[in-house]
């Protein structure tokens, strides 16, 4: 009833804006606000080299005299001014946050992508093929679920670190982090996709495709996959927030991003050393950024889940 046909077909963007999803988006202030925050943070991270007043990775630009400058005040020795203050090394907190977000977001997106590709593939196979394939995949998933994700990630991280030669460790740290978080997170994708596949594979359009004689591979890829993507999108969004937090947790525990390439988690770890000595800003601003990022992505995921749920429409 609600979808009145539109004969004029303007641009793709315009159509998306006018679609049910676009309509629901425009009428959800929380979603609009979260998107704004997320976009702002992503743009900040991407453009960090152009926006950041200092480069935190260039030891030559650091002046130890600038250490512990409070936010919004000029340094008492050098007279330099830092928006969000500096840490013990004299690094500009605002700049480290921008660069830290780059690491955090990159690890988050890459880990979710890995988890998604792995989970969707295994979920499709388990749901469509059934039998032993399903039993093996889903039992592995069950076993993995009995361990906390962060523990699994640490385990994978530990193993990976053990087999990389020491000279590459710092360079490889980011990739190991992505692998660890991605592998610890595929299970929920697999479960949801398997469930959706079980429903879809009994629908008549799949029967019709079988009847035509299409191969199981073609049916999974061309018929079922596009129809199970909605829940995957929702989970991917929420997983992104979780992956960013997982990365921060690992880095906070000291097993993640190295101090030479600090992520938000590393910054928080550094900052917490100064929390009780009065230099609160070193901890506060990275933590607040992490909170804003994770919360906005989560709220966006919540909205997406409701908007894509046909029963709530």
């Amino acid at each position: 009833m609600a979808d009145i046909q539109q004969d004029i077909r303007p641009s793709r963007l315009h159509r998306a804006w006018n679609s049910d999803l676009g309509w629901s988006f425009r009428h959800a202030p929380v979603a609009v606000a979260s998107t704004f925050v997320v976009l702002l943070l992503i743009i900040g991270a991407v453009l960090a080299p152009f926006i950041a007043p200092h480069s935190p990775f260039d030891p030559g630009s650091l002046n130890l005299m600038n250490g512990f400058t409070p936010p919004g005040q000029a340094n008492q020795f050098t007279g330099d001014y830092f928006l969000l203050g500096t840490d013990d090394q004299g690094r500009d907190v605002f700049s480290t946050i921008l660069y830290g977000m780059r690491i955090s977001l990159f690890v988050g997106f890459a880990a979710v992508l890995l988890a998604m590709v792995l989970g969707v593939t295994l979920g499709l196979l388990a749901g469509y093929l059934g039998g032993w394939t399903e039993t093996i995949i889903m039992r592995v998933a069950d076993v993995q679920l009995t361990f906390p994700a962060i523990l699994v990630a640490m385990l994978i991280f530990g193993i990976a670190k053990g087999i990389t030669p020491p000279e590459y460790r710092n360079e490889m740290a980011i990739w190991v982090l992505i692998l660890a978080i991605g592998l610890s997170d595929w299970v929920q994708f697999a479960r949801v996709v398997r469930g959706a596949t079980l429903v879809e594979k009994n629908r008549e359009y799949v029967q019709a495709a079988k009847l035509i004689g299409r191969s199981p591979f073609a049916i999974m890829l061309r018929h079922i996959l596009p129809n199970v993507l909605n829940p995957v999108l929702v989970i991917a969004t929420i997983s992104l927030a979780l992956a960013i937090i997982a990365e921060a947790t690992l880095s906070f525990l000291g097993v993640g991003a190295p101090p030479t390439k600090p992520s938000l988690g590393t910054l928080i770890r550094i900052g917490q050393e100064f929390m009780f000595s009065g230099e609160w800003w070193i901890l506060f601003f990275p933590a607040a950024t992490l909170l804003a990022l994770a919360l906005s992505i989560n709220l966006l995921g919540d909205w997406l889940r409701d908007a894509l749920n046909p029963r709530l429409r």
Partner: protein, 321 residues
Amino acid sequence: MSAIIRIEHLTRVFDVSKPWLNRVIERLPKALLTAVSDVSFEIEENSVYALVGESGSGKSTIGKIVVGLVPPSDGHVKIEGVDLATETDRDKVEAVRADIQMIFQDPYASLNPRWRVREVINEPVSAKGGDVTGLAEKLLEQVGLSAKDAAKYPHEFSGGQRQRICIARALASGPKIIVCDEPTSALDVSVQAQVLNLMSDLRKELGLTYLFISHDLTVVQHMADKIGVLYLGRLVEEAPRDRLFDAPKHPYTQMLFAAAPRMDGFGREVEPPKGEIPDAINPPTGCAFHPRCPIAVDRCSKERPEMRKIGDTRVACHLAE
């Protein structure tokens, strides 16, 4: 006229047991559901053969076995002399597969919502690497839609229009036989009339053979040349349409006809049928209908009746004459 489909002693058993571990712990036996039990019939070329029955009668299962979606447990389905389940010659199998298509009950579930109508209709041909230039457009016009509709998505169509799209897809590979599984039971009466008329027209134009599966006696009476009545997976009666409706022989057929609501049945007070369809996992012994049968005798509970030929009618009842 020759038989294009020959079904011989078809049986299909489904294992509906609980998982192995539950069975061991709860000491449950294996639960086997006989959906189709020793069914034999033939469909003549260019005719409409209808299977009627209530839920659990196995009519849809037979349809799925015929098109090859479900393998039989026992017995044979021979289409143009080829048994899809056992034939090893791939070319023969491919040729027969292209000759048989299916139309499903739910027009909302039988079209992939993410595909354009053109892709949906072309799939049977394009998946085999065939030439699909203008195919969807031609078929859409043949089923009473417009060629422009090829670029739309299924959700832009009503139920009746979707069923037309399904028919167009079924016709794409140029089949000789179409299995129709309750093709109009999800549609409104006036739309049902449109779809049934379309199916009749197409049959005449293209010389199609239909295996028409339905629970609706009125639709079957309108469409079919020959009708098989199923009860609990067994064929209980088979007769040409007029013969069946004028003189039903099997007590179940008689009960079904009496129970069907009628447009001229104003304030009709009939004694409704007794009992319900039994559990197919533990069907009654002998004739499956005997617990509800008004004329059952001792023999009916002990001996399963054979199909007997009485005139044009084949009936599985000890007492029918």
